[in-house]
């Protein structure tokens, strides 16, 4: 046991050297770090948001509204189809996860069936003999719909986050309908939150000028119209509403770009340009409707409803609507990033300011240093030379833990630092066990080599069992915990695994070196 072959020694030294090389960049200030030539490894541990400061947001998609929206279009299509076919109906609407309509005359079903089925494609279509027609969204279709919406949402979210200039954001799909955002360095996520809170579905539609003021007030508008409020209420005035046609003239998908600018009056506006399809459509529509009102609608609110003075055929235009510099910029970002296919809600926020993060790092480093000093001094007092061996092992344990965290790109969090401190205590446990065992064996009158041999051999089983139970716990914690707590589980696991090497293999090698040089007659542990 106390003999090491040459290749074993080489392996031990290689592990320690590599570990040190990979750990050192973490201790250097970043200024010096940048001067390390790129062919040398210089990974550093990435710091969690709680240490470097930043914002963590968990967004949840409102899949119910997605369902509702999808079914609403089916209902609208049903209505349109039945009207075109001049078939009487009643009870049209959404019931649960289905669009339902009842034909007054069930015998007409066959004539309108193709049109209704076309409107309900991808849905489970059924028609009862009493004339009730329903198009239900089955689970599979629902899942596919949510998945597609989430995949698209992530892209939109990424574009919006990028527009805020956040460096190295993490944007991840979590579960079926959630998006996790980690925004390092962001101490006030208001801007991002404002951007995430809007789906930004923009449409250009005509205002239904046939609707009377009275109809507007009672809300009794034709089913082909939407009654939409103005986005920004005039100062002191009541917020006016518009009856806007459901039919979309040009949609936001045909926007090519948008930017905040000032118009000739010095007011903030958002200038935009259409792609060619959008430009042509807008040109045609405006050409035939000079003198009429059209509405610019964002998320079911009217931003403005100007009069068409001329055909607008340049493929570009301006949106005005009581903007400030900030709101104009926001709208431009929203338009450029495209519409979110589904409404996102923030269900969890954790933001740490950079100062607090820096304070935490400082406290963590001090605590580690003090803890390390206390433990090492105690070990020397308790075990003398064998305590010093354990201390050297402890130092390398810390170094190797840092190295592994760096190489695997793991994230160090504040609980992670606490985990490191705890491993300090736990990894010397291996040496305490070994040393106590060596003491006992020595007292039984064994020779130094035999006592050392028995000490390491007998203690191993105990160390293994003790560490295995801890690691099992940490796996459970990792699997079920979130963010920072995961970091705790990771550092403890790595710390314990490396301690199996440093406290057992490395210390045994140190002792074997000492044994060969000193050839002690008796052990003083």
């Amino acid at each position: 046991m106390m003999y090491f072959a040459r290749w074993q020694v080489v392996l031990i030294l290689a592990v320690l050297t590599l570990g040190t090389i990979f750990a050192i960049p973490n201790l250097l200030p970043s200024r010096i770090n940048q001067t390390i030539p790129s062919w040398l490894p210089h990974p550093t541990v990435s710091l969690g948001l709680d240490l470097q400061g930043g914002s963590y947001l968990l967004l949840q998609a409102d899949s119910e509204s997605l369902v509702h929206e999808r079914l609403q279009t089916v209902v609208d299509d049903f209505r349109a189809a039945l009207r075109t076919a001049r078939v009487g109906y009643s009870g049209i609407g959404i019931q649960g996860h289905a669009a339902v309509v009842k034909l007054l005359d069930p015998t007409k079903l066959d004539s309108v069936r193709p049109a209704l089925e076309a409107a309900a494609k991808d849905l489970d279509f059924s028609a009862a003999p009493d004339g009730t027609v329903s198009a239900a969204l089955n689970d599979q279709a629902l899942q596919t719909m949510v998945r597609t919406a989430m995949t698209n949402s992530i892209e939109v979210v990424r574009r919006r986050v990028d527009a805020t200039g956040t460096v190295e954001p993490v944007i991840q799909l979590q579960g079926a309908d959630r998006i996790l955002l980690e925004l390092p360095g962001l101490s006030d996520p208001e801007q991002v939150k404002a951007l995430m809170g809007k789906t930004a579905k923009m449409t250009f539609r005509f205002v239904d000028e046939s609707v009377t003021q009275e109809q507007l007030q009672t809300g009794n508008v034709p089913p082909t119209d939407d009654l939409l409020p103005l986005a920004s209420a005039p100062v002191g005035g009541e917020r006016p509403a518009y009856a806007v046609q459901k039919r979309v003239m040009v949609s936001g998908e045909n926007l090519k770009s948008a930017s905040p600018t000032k118009d000739q009056n010095g007011e903030w506006v958002v200038s935009f340009s259409f792609d060619s399809t959008g430009g042509n459509r807008f040109c045609d529509a405006t050409k035939t409707n000079v003198g009429h009102l059209f509405a610019i609608v964002l998320d079911n609110k009217v931003i403005s409803a100007p009069v068409i003075r001329d055909a607008i055929c340049g493929g570009s235009g301006q949106i005005s609507g009581n903007f400030t510099a900030q709101s104009a910029t926001e709208l431009a970002v929203l338009l450029n990033s495209g519409a979110l296919p589904v409404q996102l809600k923030i269900i969890e926020e954790r933001t740490v300011g950079p100062d607090l993060g820096a304070d935490s790092i400082r406290a963590g480093v001090y605590a580690c240093l003090i803890g390390f000093v206390l433990v090492t001094v105690y070990m020397v007092l308790a075990y003398g030379l064998f305590g010093i061996f354990a201390d050297i092992a402890l130092l390398f344990n810390l170094i190797l833990t840092m190295a592994i965290l760096s190489v695997f790109g793991a994230t160090l969090t504040l609980p992670g630092i606490a985990g490191m401190l705890l491993t300090l205590g736990m990894s010397v446990d291996a040496n305490v066990l070994i040393n106590e065992r060596i003491r006992e064996e020595t007292k039984l009158g064994r020779s130094p080599v035999a006592a050392l041999d028995a000490g390491f051999r007998r203690a191993f089983g105990t160390i293994f069992d003790a560490n295995a139970t801890t690691i099992i716990k940490m796996f459970i914690l990792y699997a079920l915990g979130t963010g920072p707590v995961k970091g705790f589980a990771v550092t403890i696991t790595i710390g314990i695994l490396t301690s199996m090497f440093t406290a057992i293999v490395f210390v045994r090698w140190l002792i074997s070196l000492w044994l060969r040089r000193r050839r002690p007659k008796a052990l003083r542990v």
């Binding site: 923030i346 740490v352 205590g425 003790a466 560490n467 099992i472 716990k473």
Partner: protein, 314 residues
Amino acid sequence: MFRLRFVPDNTKIKFMRGRFLGLLVSAVLSTASVILFFYPGLNYGIDFKGGISIEARTQGPADFSALRSKINGLGLGEAQLQSFGSDRDVLIRLERQPGGEEAQQNAVEAVRGLLTKSFPGTEIRSVEAVGATVSGELFQSGMLALGLALVAMLAYIAFRFEWQFGVGAVVTLILDVTKTVGFFVITGLQFNLTSLAAILTIMGYSINDKVVVYDRVRENLRKYKSMPLRELIDLSINETLNRTINTSFTTFLATIALAVIATGAVKEFAIVILFGIVIGTSSSIFIAAPILLFLGENRLRRGGKPKAVANARP
């Protein structure tokens, strides 16, 4: 050469004499903890209850009454203000806002706005807002983690040792955990995700300690075939006493630095761990060992056929 030893070598303390006392004290403490758990109950933090927690640092010494009246004036319910760290640091806690997830965000914005407008120069150091969905899920997975950890420990110890050891360890763990919960109630420390991590850590630490003592019992069972179990357990505890104390002491030393220097959640975490080290160490001697004695008397296999695992050692 000087050696620091808290207990002399070759102690022969008859720990098992106090087995009834040990179990009794433990049972009383744990029962009291369970009662405390129901009344007045844990001080659940926002992770499990939902709500808002904002850490702010004011320009000068924090004016608590002004802060309180202004924040309460927002109509977001009664705000809890707590001083920590320096006299400029304030922790503002708000209950979970009724009316869905947006209500949380609106409340955060309102408080943020108020602090920057009415108390110029105030630095908002951290903001946490957890809604109903997330807090419910966190609570569920937290309880699941605790349950899984207990089952995993029972399985591991029963597999590596014999079932009596497994039961002894897990019963002790449950007693340790209940006392820790009691500690949370008495100190009023917030019960959050990190608290759960602390409890799992204590469980890990405590089981470590049991493994060491049990390991020695198992070894002595093979070594001294005719020694009564009671004496044998006493012997095993005495033999491992120095290790137990040294390990507890080093872990204690490492953690105490954190408890003194850190602030907020991590400080609370460290304090709980310190408590857990004491609980976990003493329960090995006063609870886990007596349980083994009760369960194992005349039943534990002696020598002869050591379990296969015992031979697996190098």
